[in-house]
């Protein structure tokens, strides 16, 4: 087991290096550099000025040299400054953007989990009932609806039609003080984006929970347990649920990174200043340092979640061995 973990951890390093190389190379292909702005406003700008400044800013070097230099500093934790905001890119991403994403994605994740597990279980236990069919249909709806469109429709219904019952976006109203009003304010701003963002996972996980529950319920040891006269409720909670939830852990673990970077559509519709939108904007305006630090963070997150999901599975299910 330990050898396995070490091996997996060692694999992470070359993978991250490779990903960073690919991403840096792709970003470097984009046009636009810091001298552009200087040049546009200065008609007296000569080619000599241009060359001098390019050299000065280190932009005369080919991209792989710049990559090497970037890497050298990145491993020391220096990801360079953000071109848009002056401040260090890492600081901008981790202080100004990540917490917002954690809030939105965290709540969405929680909501999806809290609803999907009981619904999935219930619908599996009452297979072929009206409830089961309703749940199934809702699952299909959930995985088929474009999130951003759902968001727009929610805004129309709850913000436009009601004349601002709920805010149509953004994170908070500035100037509110006091614990309770702040809490309510955040909650109001969270409702619609969480509803939109959690829809997909809600559907996927309910469906998954249902099928994995169905599988477990049919297994022999449950029949045995029932035969032994245990109450049905006890059977479900003590044995079935625990085993059925296992695969869900893996699935949830694997979707976490998605919640971080893939929320760009939700963030755009609801004007939520999160990571997804930060990456999107950084790529659009050539803020390489911000793009790189956030992309590397998410890649690392993906790798870590993959590993953790595998480990969680292994710990929970002793039958699985990794040698």
């Amino acid at each position: 087991m330990l050898a396995y973990i070490v091996r997996r951890l060692l694999q992470v390093i070359p993978t991250l290096l490779f990903i960073s190389l690919v991403l840096y190379g792709l970003l470097a292909l984009k046009p636009g550099d810091p001298i552009d702005e200087l040049r546009r406003g200065n008609p007296g700008f000569t080619q000599a000025d241009y060359e001098r400044l390019r050299e000065f800013y280190g932009l005369d070097k080919p991209w792989y040299v710049r990559y090497w230099r970037w890497l050298g500093r990145a491993v020391q934790g220096d990801f360079g400054p953000s071109r848009q905001f002056g401040r260090p890119a890492a600081q901008y991403v981790f202080e100004n953007r990540l917490p917002n994403t954690l809030l939105l994605s965290g709540v969405a994740l929680l909501v999806a989990l809290v609803i999907s597990i009981p619904t999935g279980v219930l619908s599996a236990l009452k297979q072929h009932s009206a409830l089961d069919y309703t749940v199934t249909v809702f699952n299909f709806l959930g995985v088929s609806v474009p999130i951003f469109w759902l968001g727009i429709m929610l805004i129309y219904l709850f913000a436009v039609r009601t004349g601002g019952f709920l805010p149509a976006g953004s994170m908070m109203t500035p100037g509110i003080t006091g614990a309770w009003p702040v809490f309510v304010d955040r909650l109001r701003h969270l409702l619609l984006p969480v509803a939109a963002l959690s829809s997909l996972h809600l559907a996927q996980w309910t469906r998954f929970m249902r099928s994995s529950m169905l599988e477990v319920v049919r297994l022999d040891y449950l029949t045995t347990a029932r035969a032994k006269g245990l109450r049905e409720g006890k059977v479900v909670y003590r044995h079935a649920l625990r085993n059925a939830i296992l695969p869900l852990i893996t699935l949830v673990g694997l979707s976490i990174p998605q919640l971080f970077s893939g929320a760009v559509l939700t963030e755009t519709v609801f004007n939520w200043p999160g990571m997804g939108r930060a990456i999107f904007d950084a790529i659009l305006v050539n803020d390489f340092n911000v793009a790189m630090v956030s992309l590397m963070f998410i890649s690392l997150l993906i790798l870590a979640c993959n590993l953790l999901a595998d480990l969680a599975y292994a710990l929970a299910d002793p039958r699985i061995r990794y040698d």
């Binding site: 546009r40 000025d49 932009l59 360079g80 002056g86 953007r97 601002g164 149509a168 953004s170 755009t268």
Partner: protein, 617 residues
């Protein structure tokens, strides 16, 4: 269940509660763009111009009538008050221009330090350092020297005529936002950065953007370091959320009546997404919009929806234009005869610009000039180029275009015998009114046999020099559409907004290569991205730049517009307007004229009528 009911009641209750506005005697302004930093020397974004104006004031400022008023200076220098001297030699040729400024005695930085000539000389030193990114050096390059006469008195000596020696927004030749920066704050930072840059030239870019643009004084990480000269002082900046300012009690300009009756706090909320901003406005979460936030919105429809206040429309000073690739070296453009003025004339006649403006930018006014209405020399006495498809078709036929294969698109045989189809490329940004413009233009031009191929690219691509300044190499090969400042009190001299000249006739031996047309020979510098070269226009421009008399200058500017209106190096579409929403009771929140440059020129006068503020604008 009961809990849910309580929660719902609370939610709906709070939904109606107003957190800004008259109740708290503060003002929440909604903006769709956020400044990148608060560094005083650099930046072109309008939103930075606005936000910086909340806690800074220049030597002068324009009021809502377009009058130049003294800010940090005791009075606006003019030849009449003896503060402006133009010195000519025996032949009557220009030698130098001297402008004498006196700083107000009661001008203090927001931390209480007096504003002195030390700040002025320091600001100029930074402005002149080649490694420091500054917005423009066009005006600072005109400065021969700054003579310090005392703590509050200095003379700026220009080696070439500067007609705009007292204007805001960098025309004096000092910092872009707003003329004078605090030396006691920026001095140590600047010196530290320059030492490091000299020590590690390889890291220069990172040092400058990280430690200069990223200094606490520019990012607000340490609020005590953000110091300004204006009516409000910086309180906090929550990036991507809002920036907050509080009224200064030691500011030298005062509103009528008691200052407590006016807005005490200003919050600018950054809501990138326009629809979200509009909903916040309609719901009363913001009290007013800035001048950019509602761009392209239909004021009539907004007025219908906005029950809490009013919506008014002001001219913006920007003209939306089609820039043509006129370079003979770009074959794709030359094949379409874009360099022939008749082609451009045909295209302007093929577009119903009234209809276009109404559809894509409601409230905008059709323009036939490169100067905006109300500015020095603006003339109506121009060909209005009315919608005239038959005229356009006739001109195109005259140029040898005909639909040879009957597919509805014109063709033409070139001199070397190739058949060319009239497929015209149009490129602009992804702003929604521009996307719509592309679609409308497509239809108008199809009617005269031109197939418009539209492409909407991110602004960062369209405005990158590698793209825009390389038209001679065909990076763009038809039309690029964007807006340019149409004078705004500086026409025609501001080389920033004036993209039409090719050679600087003010220079004694004329340069061999155009200074303003981006070509390989000048390192693709300059703003005349079309490659338009009109000696007649350039001569007039030089004459205007030498003419200190406003009336005579106006006559020259009118001449320039006539040349422009016939040659049409760019096709003017419309003068953009600013649509501004204001909650009932807010007074003096008015720009009035594009000359004022920023909607936020007079924050000390903003107030709520409900709280006793008086309207003076």
């Amino acid at each position: 269940m009961r809990n849910i009911m309580v929660l719902l009641a609370l939610l709906s209750g709070l939904a109606l509660a107003v957190l800004g506005g008259p109740t708290f005697n503060n003002l929440v302004i909604g903006a769709t763009q956020e400044p990148s930093n608060l560094f005083p020397w650099e930046g072109a974004a309008d939103t930075k111009e606005n936000v910086m104006a909340l806690f800074n004031i220049g030597l002068t400022f324009f009021d809502s009538n377009g009058h130049l008023m003294p800010g940090l200076a005791t009075e606006v220098p003019t030849p009449d008050n003896g503060r402006v001297k133009v010195i000519y030699d025996a032949n009557g040729d220009f030698v130098r221009q001297e402008v004498h400024w006196t700083l107000r005695d009661d001008a203090y930085w927001s931390d209480g330090v007096p504003i002195t000539t030390d700040d002025v000389t320091f600001t100029f030193e930074v402005q002149r350092t080649p490694e420091i990114p500054v917005t423009t050096r066009s005006f600072s390059d005109l400065i021969e020297e700054i003579r310090v006469l005392g703590l509050k008195d200095f003379v700026i000596v220009y080696k070439a005529p500067n007609l705009f020696y007292a204007n805001i927004a960098g025309a004096i030749g000092l910092a872009r936002f707003y003329d004078i920066a605090p030396a006691h704050i920026w001095g140590p930072i600047y010196r530290q950065v320059m030492i490091q840059v000299k020590a590690e030239p390889g890291k220069a870019a990172d040092i400058i953007s990280g430690q200069l643009l990223g200094a606490p004084a520019a990012t607000g990480v340490d609020p005590t370091k953000v110091i300004g000269s204006g009516a409000f002082k910086f309180v906090e900046w929550r990036i991507n959320q809002f920036i907050r300012f509080a009224r200064r009690t030691d500011f030298f300009l005062a509103p009528p009546g008691r200052a407590e009756e006016y807005v005490q706090e200003i919050i600018v909320r950054f809501i990138v997404n326009q629809p979200t901003l509009i909903s916040a406005l309609l719901a009363g979460e913001i009290d007013a919009s800035d001048d950019i936030a509602l761009a392209g919105q239909d004021p009539a429809i907004l007025r219908q929806q906005y029950r809490l206040g009013t919506v008014f429309v002001d001219p913006s000073g920007f003209i939306e234009k089609l820039n043509f690739n006129l370079f003979a070296s770009c074959k794709a453009a030359a094949d379409l005869l874009l360099g022939d003025k008749r082609t451009r004339q045909a295209i302007i006649m093929a577009i119903d610009r009234e209809d276009l403006a109404e559809t894509v930018y409601p409230g905008a006014i059709v323009s036939n000039s490169f100067v905006v209405r109300g500015d020095v020399g603006f003339t109506e006495n121009l060909n209005p180029w009315p919608y005239n498809p038959p005229g356009a078709k006739a001109l195109l036929a005259e140029l040898g275009w005909a639909d040879l294969d009957g597919d509805g698109v014109l063709e033409r045989l070139t001199e070397d015998g190739r058949a060319v189809k009239f497929e015209l490329h149009w490129v602009s940004t992804t702003a929604s009114f521009r996307v719509r413009t592309g679609e409308v233009l497509q239809e108008f031009l199809a009617d005269v046999g031109i197939r418009l191929v539209v492409e909407n690219l991110p602004g960062s691509v369209v405005f990158s020099t590698e793209y825009l300044n390389h038209g001679s190499e065909c990076t763009w090969r038809g039309i690029v559409e964007y807006a340019e400042g149409g004078g705004t009190g500086e026409a025609p001299a501001d080389p920033l907004s004036n993209e039409l000249w090719a050679f600087d006739y003010l220079k004694a031996p004329l340069s061999q290569v155009s200074e303003n047309i981006p070509l390989p020979e000048n390192g693709f510098g300059g703003t005349n991205i079309m490659g338009w070269n009109s000696p007649q226009f350039d001569q007039l421009r030089a004459d205007a730049l030498r003419e200190f008399d406003t009336e005579r200058r106006a006559a020259i500017v009118a001449e320039m517009q006539k040349v422009y209106n016939v040659e049409l190096p760019t096709v003017p579409l419309y003068e953009r307007t600013d649509c501004i929403a204001v909650r009932t009771g807010l007074v003096n929140y008015r720009r009035g004229t594009p000359v004022a440059r920023t909607q936020f020129w007079n924050p000390w006068e903003w107030g709520w009528e409900q709280n006793g503020a008086r309207s003076v604008r």
